[in-house]
């Protein structure tokens, strides 16, 4: 389970960043007093436009960055107090995280398996399972730099799931993938959910959120403006699809 309690993340901008964002304020609030709870056995989607704070939230959960205020609990472990315990129970993937291009997929899989203290026999079993599912076997011994974008993404997904984590965090899971690979990824996320795991994804693609997520949290300007199942969100806004619902929330927020 993931519990986010009053998470705030404020970045200090340097002069160049201030000039780029055309602001004189050296502080940028990326996430503003965000609270949410996501439970095992569900796919929770963070939906919002670019720059809404989705990735920052996920990076806080993954211990890559530290919250300015608030707490984040991952399976009862607080991210700042027990970062190693948190990282043990999550699988985190984003397009910014890449595998070392000099090694082959097989080596990288074993390497991260050992970092997670996976025993030889279990590692072998996981490899067989994931490599078969994602069709990695045929390029398992190719260096990462020789792979296509889709192949790289598949390899990165397999590696991030090597330790069979209870919580899987994917930042824009289908970003840059062709339609077939994208489908195999979303299918796998559903399988993980059905296996009782918690999957938390961020996306700005409405159709993906609509089809994939059991619950959706809409984030705008670092704040959660709505949360619920697709049906609940549609009912709240009296709309018939997620895109219309999103714009209702968006204009309500911006019109404040």
């Amino acid at each position: 389970m993931i519990e986010i309690k009053h998470l705030t993340k404020i970045y200090k901008l340097n002069k160049k960043q201030m000039a780029e964002s055309k602001t004189k304020n050296p502080y940028k609030t990326a996430v503003d007093d965000l609270c949410l709870t996501a439970k095992k056995g569900e796919i929770y989607g963070l939906l919002g436009p670019n720059g809404a704070g989705k990735t920052t939230t996920l990076r806080c959960i993954a211990t890559l960055i530290k919250p300015t205020k608030g707490e984040v609990f991952v399976d009862q472990h607080e991210v700042q107090k027990e970062p190693e315990k948190v990282r043990e129970s999550i699988g985190f993937l984003t397009s910014e995280i890449k595998l070392d291009e000099q090694f082959d997929v097989d080596y990288m899989f074993d390497f991260f398996g050992k970092l997670h203290n996976i025993s030889g026999e279990r590692l072998k079993k996981r490899k067989e399972e994931l490599f078969t599912y994602f069709g990695i076997k045929e390029f398992a011994h190719k260096k990462i730099k020789e792979l296509s974008t889709g192949m790289k993404q598949k390899a990165a997904i397999a590696v991030s799931l090597v330790h069979d984590p209870d919580i899987v965090i994917f930042d824009e899971p289908t970003n840059g993938l062709d339609i077939i690979t994208a489908r195999s990824v979303t299918d796998y996320l559903r399988k993980l959910r059905d296996d009782g795991k918690l999957v938390i994804v961020s996306t700005h693609i409405m159709s993906e959120a609509e089809k994939l997520c059991d619950r959706i949290g809409i984030i705008i300007d670092g704040q959660k403006v709505a949360e619920g199942t697709l049906r609940e969100l549609l009912e709240q806004t009296n709309t018939s699809d997620l895109e219309d619902a999103f714009f209702e929330f968006y204009s309500a927020r911006k019109g404040e």
Binding site: L64, I65, E84, R87, K98, D100, Q102, F103, F111, L115
Partner: protein
């Protein structure tokens, strides 16, 4: 601990499983050094041979009749031309200036007669030579001519004085094979001690430089560092694993270079008076001291490079930042090559410089245990402090996500 071992192993695999990498890190620099030194040596010996085989063009004014016999005896390769007038002398000097002729020898008029009828109190005749010091051929001709003129003088002197020994009065070391009293091992160590610290310190740094910036800044730039940061191992283990790997790589590469130098230098530099005739023998104590100090230096350099790289956003940036540190190491190495006399105790407290001094001292058997201890502890302590900063930096989201 296990995480650190995995990181260390991955960094080792990155180098040793890639043939191109092994070649470029360990063997290419050696190959370049061998090729470079061979070319320099080849060119130098070619030049020497060319000078030796050159037939000197020499102008002679007022040549005495007996002089040519002396030249023949001295086997000097030369072609003599006579200068008969002041005008011709001017022309000859112009040729010397332009490098077309090599030497002018000017005897005074009536040279032989003056010598033959010499009386006590008469002025001593003077032979003048003119050469061009910027021309190798001219210098060589001058050296040979000085020797020939000395022979000529001895010959003329023997005609004037019957007992040559009466002029000598006493001789110095004409029959003393044992004049040099020194410890051969110490002398060898001292000679090599002036060069080796310079090479070792530079090679240790250079060996770690390229790999180190790639290992830290490169991983950040490529986005592969983040994959390590989300794994359950401690940030400290990632940093330590990388620094240890860097230490080993720089150590191995410098060992290979030094071995290549010790084996290759006598062959390559035989004509340049290099390490060829040095007797390198080290005692067990010397080897132990050298080994311990080299490990400490490798540790310090690796932490320096890793620290610089961790704050850089790209490999390019890291390479730019690391250059001043490399220059510092280069200059301190050079300083020990050109320092002579007693070194003040204070010098052994200056980081980096003291390691070069102690390396030199160990090889020359002139270092005290106190100096060695201070240097070793200081080097390790600075390395440990830098390591602490690196670990802090690995924990900082600002540094790691920059």
């Amino acid at each position: 601990m296990s995480g650190m071992r995995q990181i260390f192993k991955k960094e080792m695999d990155r180098i040793f499983k890639d043939k191109k990498m092994v070649f470029s890190v360990f063997f290419l620099p050696v190959l370049m050094m061998v090729v470079l030194l061979s070319i320099i040596n080849g060119l130098a010996s070619n030049m020497e041979k060319d000078i030796e085989s050159h037939k000197s063009e020499i102008y002679v004014m007022n040549e005495p009749a007996s002089f040519r016999d002396v030249l023949e005896v001295s086997k000097m390769k030369c072609q003599l031309k006579t200068v008969a007038s002041e005008k011709e002398m001017k022309g000859a000097k112009k040729e010397i200036l332009e490098g077309e002729a090599d030497l002018i020898v000017e005897f005074p008029e009536g040279f032989e007669e003056d010598i033959a009828k010499y009386q006590e109190g008469d002025p001593v005749p003077q032979v003048k030579t003119y050469e061009n010091p910027s021309e190798e051929y001219s210098q060589q001709a001058s050296r040979n001519m000085t020797a020939a003129l000395e022979t000529y003088r001895q010959m003329l002197l023997s005609q004037r004085v019957e007992d040559m020994s009466s002029l000598t009065i006493f001789q110095v070391n004409s029959d003393n094979d044992e004049m040099y009293i020194q410890d051969e091992r110490k002398a060898g160590g001292k000679a090599i001690g002036t060069m080796l610290p310079y090479f070792i310190t530079i090679l240790l740094f250079a060996g770690a430089m390229g790999i180190g910036t790639d290992m830290v800044a490169g991983e950040k730039e490529r986005g592969t560092m983040a994959s390590l940061l989300v794994s359950p191992i401690k940030r400290k283990d990632i940093a330590l694993g990388k620094v240890l790997a860097l230490m080993l790589i720089s150590g191995v590469s410098s060992l290979i270079y030094v071995a290549a130098m010790v084996i290759g230098a006598p062959l390559m530099m035989s004509k340049m008076g290099g390490l060829g005739d040095l007797d390198i023998q080290l005692s067990v104590q010397q080897i132990l001291m050298l080994g311990t100090l080299l490990v400490a230096i490798a540790f310090l350099y690796s932490t320096m490079i890793a620290l610089i790289s961790v704050f850089a956003r790209s490999v390019k940036e890291a390479n730019t930042y690391v250059m001043p540190a490399y220059m510092l190491v280069l200059v301190t190495g050079l300083l020990t090559m050109f320092t002579s006399g007693e070194t003040s105790q204070k010098m052994f407290f200056i980081p980096i410089y003291n390691t070069a001094l102690v390396l030199q001292g160990i090889l020359g058997q002139e270092v005290t245990m106190m100096q060695f201890g201070v240097t070793l502890i200081e080097t390790l302590a600075i390395g440990a402090v830098l390591m602490g900063v690196i670990v802090k930096a690995f924990d900082s989201e600002k540094v790691m996500s920059a």
